[in-house]
Symmetry: C2
Subunit: 338 residues, 2 copies
């Protein structure tokens, strides 16, 4: 199953049997609103804290994905989930509600593809029939934990990003109809010495480049192999940097086939500065928008590259730079796989 140094090829082509995306009120005003399964009008989602609201988002994404897969939660062998909260409480508490054997994962905003890659690995190796991979973020909860109190109204620079309120989940299975996972590449940590937590896009772009390079090298693919290459949440700043870096590193990806979820989710809205971010960004865009459009035939092969900034408020305070990582998962249409 190993392919090259840091990739996996999945000969059984595990199927994404069900997938779901849940969003908040701000996501409901974005250009991808129609591709969400549930949109909430209230940021609190009827809970008494933002953290509890995030847990509800994640639970809904999981339940909806299992339901759309035509399964019950008792049939799911393992759940892989993580989020941005300290001690990944959204994931752990959702796993308590769902009562599925649980493996907690953390890669900041790369968590979504870390989970999908491991889920495909488990299914392909027949270590599981059904695996649930999920992740979430919540704007209020993330702002509270990572930044100044919202009430301060601190100004942000144009390179800052807006944490997505949303959750996405997928059920990966050995059999059934659906899009198929053909391979994955696990990234290593890349740190270019950047220290500005309000410019994650610039910090993460080199990690995305590294994983994309490793993926094409490990699989020996032509640079135009994918109809679409999608990064997680580099935003406008990071998307521009990576678009610049790719040809400089002799990666001749057709740039009209390269998009970023942080740019897609809120369109041209200037109030989100450089774009969306958070574990919920690539998760909702993928499990809502992208996979729906793939099923409608818009693309046949896509590469999902989730990027994560592995800092904490404490490492920033202690003067550390920002270590970043990216994990990639390749998904293709059933028509190609048969």
């Amino acid at each position: 199953m190993r392919q090259g140094h840091q990739s996996w090829v999945f000969p059984l082509k595990p199927v994404i049997l069900g997938h779901a995306a849940i969003g908040g009120p701000f996501e409901a005003k974005g250009p991808l609103a129609d591709d969400f399964d549930i949109l909430h009008g209230d940021l609190m989602i009827g809970q008494d804290s933002w953290e509890k609201a995030e847990k509800v988002l994640l639970e809904e994404a999981c339940s909806k994905a299992v339901e759309k897969a035509g399964l019950t939660k008792e049939q799911i062998n393992f759940m892989l989930a993580g989020d941005l909260m300290n001690q990944i409480i959204s994931a752990s508490f959702s796993a308590r509600t769902l009562s599925i054997p649980f493996l907690g994962i953390f890669g900041a905003c790369s968590t979504a593809m870390e989970g999908l890659a491991l889920a495909a690995l488990m299914v392909n190796s027949q270590a599981a029939d059904y695996v649930l991979a999920a992740t979430s973020s919540h704007n209020g909860a993330a702002e509270k934990q990572y930044r100044y109190p919202t009430e301060y109204g601190s100004q942000k620079p144009p390179t800052a990003q807006w944490t997505v309120t949303g959750a996405g989940a997928a059920v990966v299975a050995s059999q059934g109809r659906g899009l198929r996972i053909t391979g994955a590449t696990i990234g290593h940590v890349v740190d270019m010495g950047l220290t500005d937590p309000f410019n994650m896009g610039a910090a993460m772009a080199p990690a995305a480049l590294s994983t994309i390079e490793s993926h094409f090298r490990d699989f020996q693919l032509p640079h135009d192999h994918y109809d679409l290459i999608v990064t997680g949440d580099l935003g406008r700043t990071g998307h521009a940097i990576l678009s610049d870096l790719l040809p400089k590193h002799h990666m001749h990806i057709p740039l009209d086939r390269y998009v970023d979820c942080g740019k897609l989710i809120y369109g041209e809205n200037p109030n989100v500065w450089s774009g969306g971010s958070g574990c919920g960004c690539i998760a909702t865009v993928t499990y809502g928008h992208l996979l729906r459009r793939m099923k409608q035939g818009e693309w046949k092969r896509i590469l999902l590259v989730a990027t994560g900034a592995l800092l904490s408020p404490l490492t920033f305070q202690q003067g550390e730079s920002i270590p970043c990582i990216a994990h990639a998962v390749a998904v293709e249409s059933e028509q190609l796989g048969e």
Copy 2:
């Protein structure tokens, strides 16, 4: 590879090719001191913060395990690591230093066996030749993050535990000489409604019970199959509770074959209250003491059950109870495997 609902059997019996345990000054005074690879006399380990000291512990454990496996870090395909710090910074920053493709994991003190189970899964499915699994904790860093400032000198109840300053790592491989991993069971979240963060042993004991029950059911093993069953860090309180719960649930494990790492690491020292805890507890006791003694023939088959309390300071403040989990990994002597 799947066995029962939530377990994995590893027919290739992945080998623990190298393993290492690093400890701090307090661990150096404990009864297992001779089984550590490196012991530090200074809690700061020459760094300017406890968090940076923990990172050094983890890096040393990883480097030592790779060295003892007779490998270089460039030969390791993947690193699985996590710790108790917010955003698992010890693991992420160590992965930056080591530059090995990295998958971040989090299960509080269950992380050690989550990593070892996934490492064995990857090797058994030929998704990797060599996988590094590691975890760490640091008394000063954990106290600072989770509890009152140490300077307050708050009194603790006798059920409290002492976070281990230490790190453990193992290199899992498809071939070579060493102890072998035969199976694993992934736990689901168990929450009995306990809310006292100074009594983790009581909160976690039912999760350990659940995973042990699932393990014996999934593998259909007689209750005296293992020469030793080891829990992670239930401490004296939790060890007594689990010893009581096992026969009540018709699990007739010979109780003289059941030990807990939280009890073992500091012996009868009353200054640690109920015993040791933290991700470094089962990691150092396993990768130092237990595997060494297995190689000396003391036990042939052991079951390592790492327990984790998945709370955060915030969930405690918000009045939530403590969700707990346990993951089990079975290890046996080479003599049995051949």
